[in-house]
Each structure stands twice: as structure tokens, then as C-alpha cells.
Amino acid sequence: MVAEPSVVLIVGGAAGIGKAAAEDRLKKGDKVVFTDINEAVGKQLMEQWQAQGYSATFIQQNVTSWTDTEKVAAKTIDMYGRIDILIVSAGVTSQQRLEDITYKQWCFTLDVNLTGLFYSLKAVIPEMIRNGGGNIVIVGSGSAITGSGGGIHYATSKGGAFGLMRAVADQFSDQGIHINLVAPRVIATEMLDVLYPTEEAREELRQKIPIKQLGTLEDTTNAINFLASEASRYMQAQVMLIDGGRTYLT
């Protein structure tokens, strides 16, 4: 028996980890709705993926807007009648010290990384429950555990995701909501390029990682797929580090 394709909603799916996850789910035959603030890039990706025969839909979304987030959930339900998997990957960062972070930057980072997640969960979970449940994977960060990388505003926003996930799990675990968080560190993405712009800086970083390699998008995608699958059924409200040993071994 061939398994029915899953309906996957990826918030922040036109770049980095979200984009890699979207591409992977499309190749698996799933129906993917992906969102991003960048409309031009999102549309281009959708056309490219549709031309390859994949079931990809792009919806432009500002994750700090509740109206946008509600619309994304409603449109996905209109199209497919359900959301099986939610992957929340939208995020921003900048490498700054406390004294250099403006209040505006602080608020913006928390709005995108934390309020955006709150909105996604609030909009999608009722739909999942109506359909008997669903899998949620939050893309967090190991910096929330160690308090470094990407600045204090970034680590704070990602730390908030831990408590939010646990509160959601506390309420909805018995209603079919399976929620976990993947915490990548030092993955080669556009975001890492912002934090470590030169090859010299990246090499210095590599030397701090026990396995002496940067993580890849495939590493993160594998973890997301595991957490979004039946294979991780007994994992609930957990933080899964994908970090080459960086967090606890250095």
C-alpha cells in the first residue's frame, strides 16, 4: 500500500533550513505549502518546483502579522482540507553585542523568531486537532542552551521557543499533537554566512566543533523528517541538537 502524501506547511520555506526541508518533502511526493516574507524568491521557487512536477504552493507571509498567519492556515485548509505537518523555520539573526543591539532590533528579532512561532502554533493547532492531530517541528537553536551565537537577542528568542513548545505539549499531547524542536548549530546556511562572513572565520569555527565539520542542510532535514514522522512517536516536547558535538563537548 502506498502511503498518502502528507500536507506539509513550512513557515519560512524559501531559504536555508526551511527551503531544504521543503525541497526534500516535495521529492518525497508530499504536498507542500511554503511561506516567506520574500515574495519574489518564493514565487520563483514555486514555479521552479511546479515545473519539476511537484505539488508546491507559495504564500507570501509576514510572520509577525497574525492576519497573514491566519490566512496561510486558512488557505492551506481550503486547498487540502488538513495540515499533517507544520515546520516553523522563519528566523532572523545578527551578530551583535548587547550594547550594540537597539531596542528596535531586539523587538524585531523577538517578533519574528518567537511571536511568529506563537502565531503559527495558535493558527494551525486547532486545524490539526479537528483532523485528529499532527506533527509539529520547530526549528530552534542550540544557542538557547549555551547562550551564545547570533547575539543575546537571538538566543533569547530561541529560548522562548523551548517554553512555548512545552506549554503547547502540556496542553495538546493527548489530542494528537506531536511537537518537538530541532536545534541546529553551526549549519552552513545563509544565516551562518551572516555570522561568519569570511572563510577564515568559518575555519576558526570548524576547529571549535568536535567533528571538525560544519553541519549541512541535509543533516537538519534528516532530523526534521525524523521528528515529523511516526519513528519519533514517543519523543514529545524534546530539543534535538544537531551540532557536531559543539554544545556539550566544547
Binding site: W106, T115, K122, I125, T156, M165, D170, Q171
Partner: protein, 216 residues
């Protein structure tokens, strides 16, 4: 010993005035607007109002200027700002979420950023958090999330400030502990110990007052 308590209207405030000779406190007249007075409580004396502040207007610059002008250096800042909303995910309004962010995270950020330069060498930040950050509480989704964020904030702060030998730690208190007859006193004593017998190697940590509940 100069300590600054971020919120005079918290149950820990009275206990601290009994333990410390002098405590600077922020007494909010309108918390959601970030407006209030900087006061000083001295043992056996009436509180003295030192200046009015508006955090959203000047991002704590007036408080910093006052400390500068009076050459005050702080040994500890105690961040006890908190906003608890007993609402689940679906019950929480967008306004409640934003208000919780403001009190639990935005104001501490503004105060810590502006006032860390006034911490003395080997000074410290002590943040009051809740075990809800770890256990997750469906009835208080804002609070669980924002206290969890605060714990990451403290860890980052400990990393950034350790070169000045300034430390940042969290005291995480269970809701039940606050309700115990001597719960407030226990937390107050912990703060007292951390200030008067500082452990220089205690940095970036979460000290939990929960009688073992959280992991059970």
C-alpha cells in the same frame, strides 16, 4: 552593598528590604507604559523617591544618568519583573502576548543594557524565573515561554559580561514555593547569600527552588 530591584511591587521586595541595609527599587506607576519612580529603601527609614523614569521614552537613560551623577555602583541587579497571564495557547490574545513580552523580556533588556555599565567589577545580575519555563504550563503559555527566553538571556549575558567578571544567574522558583509560608523568605535568603557570599564560579546557571517537583 548597593542592589537594584527591578520591581518594587513584587512579593520579594519587602523581604529584601528586611535583609539589606539599602535597596534601590523601581516603583512602577504604570507598568505597561514603563513609567515609574526610582526609589531607595533604607533600613528603618521611609522610602526616598529619587527620580521618575519612562523606559519606553528614554530606554532607562535617566536612571543611568542618575547613577552616574551620584557615582553609584551596583553590586547586583535583581530582575524580578514578571507578568503572569493564566491563559492557554488558544485563549491568549495577541495583546496579552505582547504585554507579557514587554514586562518579562523587553523591559529587562532595556534595563540590563542601560545599567550593566554601572555594575561594579564582580557584580552580578540575578533574574527570577519560574519552573514553568521547564515544565511547560498549558495554563500560562506566555509566562512559560517568556521565562524560558529569560533563562537563555541570562546565559548569553553571562558570556558577554564575564570578561568584566560580571556574572548572571537565574533563580527559578516553582509556583508552589511562592505559596509556602517561608517560600519568599527562602528566595530572599538565596539572593542575600549570592550578594554577600558571592561564588565567583557560579555563572550562567539556573538555581531551582522547587522541592524536586519539576523533574517528577
Amino acid at each position: 552593598m548597593n542592589i537594584l530591584l527591578f520591581d518594587a511591587n513584587h512579593c520579594i521586595a519587602e523581604a529584601l528590604t528586611q535583609s539589606f541595609q539599602s535597596v534601590y527599587m523601581l516603583e512602577f506607576t504604570d507598568r505597561l507604559k514603563g513609567q515609574g519612580k526610582l526609589c531607595q529603601y533604607k533600613s528603618g527609614q521611609r522610602q526616598e523617591s529619587l527620580l521618575t523614569f519612562d523606559l519606553l521614552e528614554d530606554e532607562a537613560a535617566s536612571i543611568a544618568a542618575w547613577l552616574d551623577q551620584h557615582d553609584v555602583r551596583l553590586e547586583a541587579m535583581v530582575n524580578n519583573l514578571e507578568q503572569v497571564t493564566d491563559k492557554s495557547l488558544l485563549e491568549t490574545s495577541l495583546v496579552q502576548w505582547q504585554e507579557s513580552l514587554l514586562i518579562n523580556l523587553h523591559f529587562p533588556f532595556l534595563l540590563v543594557k542601560a545599567l550593566v555599565p554601572y555594575l561594579s567589577e564582580r557584580g552580578q545580575c540575578i533574574h527570577l524565573s519560574s519552573t514553568m519555563a521547564v515544565s511547560g504550563e498549558s495554563g500560562a503559555v506566555n509566562y512559560a515561554s517568556h521565562k524560558s527566553a529569560l533563562e537563555s538571556f541570562s546565559k548569553s549575558l553571562s558570556r558577554e559580561c564575564s570578561e568584566r567578571q560580571i556574572r548572571s544567574n537565574v533563580i527559578s522558583v516553582s509556583p508552589r514555593c511562592w505559596k509556602e509560608t517561608n517560600g519568599v523568605q527562602q528566595v530572599s535568603q538565596m539572593i542575600y547569600q549570592m550578594c554577600y557570599n558571592p561564588a565567583s564560579f557560579l555563572n550562567g546557571q539556573v538555581i531551582t527552588f522547587d522541592n524536586g517537583e519539576t523533574l517528577s
